[in-house]
């Protein structure tokens, strides 16, 4: 399993290098696809080894988070036919894999409260929304870098990516909170818990609700939208990792 993780890291590094080498740049989508395939194999094997969807604990969730980002990055490559914030996305995926490498990898029996489909759909929608918020942030950062020299059509497309990622992310995050609430009601008898993870999820939800609404305000496009999207990554990381690692809560990792 570790060998696959190392191979995955290596292939992402290769993809990152290929972006910046003119001679091999055209192979970048294929290399990224290869890295994604290895990453997928790693998740599948982990799932087979543990007997459950690989999303429990810090190690698995980091693998899944990185995988969600690459999946969306590949979709963007296919959809827009031009390179967006690929380097930034790969750097975040690499960071998540390296963090996973140093996280506890043991296989333990699943607590019975997690043996429900509600848990699985809650986690899948959560991580895809985190990945979408990340894509919005990296696109925002890319927009800020390109603002002076980029062609207007490309800048418009980047703004669209930021907005669409935030909107889809908001939709999936709302869905995730709904599934989480139903699960909490069935498991603990309350659909709302007064604890840090729930409150930080509320903060993230409000933040992206705000971001979506700023689209209809004058002066909140372009540069400002870029900065708001970048700041959204801070809120995403705080909700996903910050609260889970630093503060006592129901989603301790």
């Amino acid at each position: 399993m570790d060998l696959l993780l190392y191979t995955s890291i290596l292939s992402y590094l290769l993809a990152l290098v290929s972006i910046h080498l003119k001679r091999v740049e055209r192979y970048f989508p294929s290399i990224l696809l290869l890295a994604w395939a290895i990453h997928t194999a790693l998740l599948v094997l982990r799932g087979l080894a543990t007997g459950h969807a690989p999303m429990i604990g810090r190690y698995e969730s980091l693998l899944f988070f990185g995988w969600s980002i690459t999946s969306l990055n590949l979709f963007l490559l296919y959809r827009y036919r031009f390179r967006t914030a690929d380097s930034l996305n790969i750097l975040i995926v690499l960071a998540s894999l390296l963090f996973a490498l140093y996280s506890e990898k043991g296989i333990y029996p699943v607590p019975i409260v997690l043996k429900t489909r509600w848990f699985e759909v809650h986690v899948v929608t959560s991580f895809f929304s985190y990945a979408l918020f990340t894509i919005a942030a990296t696109s925002g950062a890319f927009y800020l870098l390109m603002e002076k020299k980029g062609p207007p059509s490309r800048l418009r497309a980047l703004q669209e990516i930021i907005y669409r990622s935030a909107l889809w992310g908001f939709f999936l995050f709302s869905l995730s909170m709904t599934f989480g609430a139903i699960w909490a009601y069935l498991a603990w008898g309350r659909y709302w818990l007064w604890e840090p993870k729930t409150l930080s999820s509320m903060v993230l939800w409000l933040y992206f609700a705000g971001l979506i609404h700023t689209r209809f305000l004058k002066g909140w496009r372009g540069r400002r939208l870029g900065w708001v999207a970048v700041a959204g990554f801070g809120f995403t990381l705080f909700t996903y990792l910050g609260v889970s690692i630093l503060l006592p809560n129901s989603h301790r990792m």
Binding site: P111, W168, I182, A187, G189, L193, V203, H213, F216, P248
Partner: protein, 356 residues
């Protein structure tokens, strides 16, 4: 009045309120982390009555909740007024419905958000929470004020490598002695009945009685005596659990009494009867049970072991707004999913310009 209304429906106000809500919630996150034990009770009570009855006196812990509720109320008001304005605009517009549809769906999102929030408000005001109900297997438990009784028929628990792999209880819900619902309750599978939900959250083993050895001339048999039942008959005798003292001591005359109400030296007096008359009695000291011995008619009674029985810890809740909150959320998610695919953003942008 018009300016006031317009400023209440302003999108800028929405952003300001969201910012304030985020700031206050951050205060809440760190307060909850710092006072985890104290704040834990917020999940075990009906929130708003608790907040105004007890929470108001603990401002060190609840300082952030009051501004949170205030900003949330303004946020709801802002959403409602914004929606009313937009609906008036949409309905009076002469554009084809196809072009108005997206804006209409946006208002459905807003209204369903308010509906879900309203459901949550009802849940925070009414209903009840009854956590930590210990019930022994085979025993019953009253649900206060509902005329309903629960019975834990059977509890099944198993674990592997120290991790619980199965915990489920066969629970009957009864009214006037008649079973009206029966279900195997386990984590994620509560018993639901007309807004009342019964959860099995924990389990354990509790002392339920004692087992004694009865011997005479080399022959041995065991006698079980359940706490609560208090008596058992054997070979023409009757053995009864008499008084229980938490801290057994004796006075100058040798009479037993409890030196305190704490369980420092818990003891139980056992009495043997023959033809209705007591013929022998003795104290069983629970901290030193094997020292117990009672002789009568050639028989000897001695302690064998404590009998344990499984118990479940049930939580019984009634959430009166949960259904409304769920309906609001389902409509919210459906309308939001439509927005992902509906076209017409530019039309919306043009008409929204007038607001600011």
């Amino acid at each position: 009045m018009k300016t006031f209304w317009k400023s209440l429906s302003s999108l800028r106000l929405t952003i300001i309120l969201i910012t304030l809500l985020i700031l206050v919630t951050f205060g809440g996150i760190f307060t909850l982390s710092a006072y985890r034990e104290e704040m834990g009770k917020m999940d075990r009570v009906i929130f708003l009555p608790w907040l105004f009855r007890e929470g108001a006196g603990e401002t060190g812990l609840t300082w952030w909740i009051f501004p949170l509720l205030l900003f949330l109320s303004f946020f709801a008001l802002n959403t409602a007024i914004c929606t009313i304005d937009a609906l008036k605009d949409i309905l009076s517009s002469d554009k084809p419905w196809r072009r108005r549809l997206r804006r209409l769906v946006v208002q459905v999102v807003h209204m369903s958000f308010l509906l879900a929030l309203g459901g949550h408000l009802v849940s925070s005001l009414y209903g009840f929470r009854s956590p930590q109900n210990y019930i022994l297997e085979g025993r019953t438990l009253e649900i206060p004020g509902k005329g309903l009784t629960l019975r834990l028929n059977e509890l099944r628990v198993s674990s592997r490598d120290g991790v619980l792999t199965e915990m489920r209880g066969d629970i009957s819900l009864m009214k006037d002695g008649r079973v009206i619902k029966r279900k195997w309750v386990s984590p994620n599978h509560p018993l639901l009945y007309r807004g009342i939900a019964v959860y099995l959250l924990h389990h354990g083993m509790a002392p339920a009685g004692i087992e004694l050895n009865l011997s005479k001339g080399g022959r041995k048999e065991t006698i079980s005596l359940a706490f609560g039942d208090g008596a058992v008959s054997f070979r023409g005798y009757r053995l009864r659990l008499a008084e229980f003292l938490p801290d057994l001591a004796t006075d100058r005359e040798g009479r037993a009494f409890s030196a305190s109400s704490e369980f420092r030296n818990p003891a139980q007096r056992l009495v043997v009867y023959k033809e209705g008359k007591p013929i022998a009695s003795g104290w069983l000291l629970y901290l030193h049970p094997f020292g117990f011995s009672l002789d009568f008619d050639g028989y000897t009674l001695s302690f064998s072991r404590i009998l344990y029985r499984p118990y479940g810890v049930l939580e019984i809740n009634e959430d009166q707004g949960a259904f409304v909150a769920l309906v609001g959320t389902i409509i919210f998610m459906t309308a939001l999913s439509l927005l992902l695919f509906l076209k017409g953003e530019e039309a919306e942008l043009v008409s929204q310009k007038g607001i600011e």
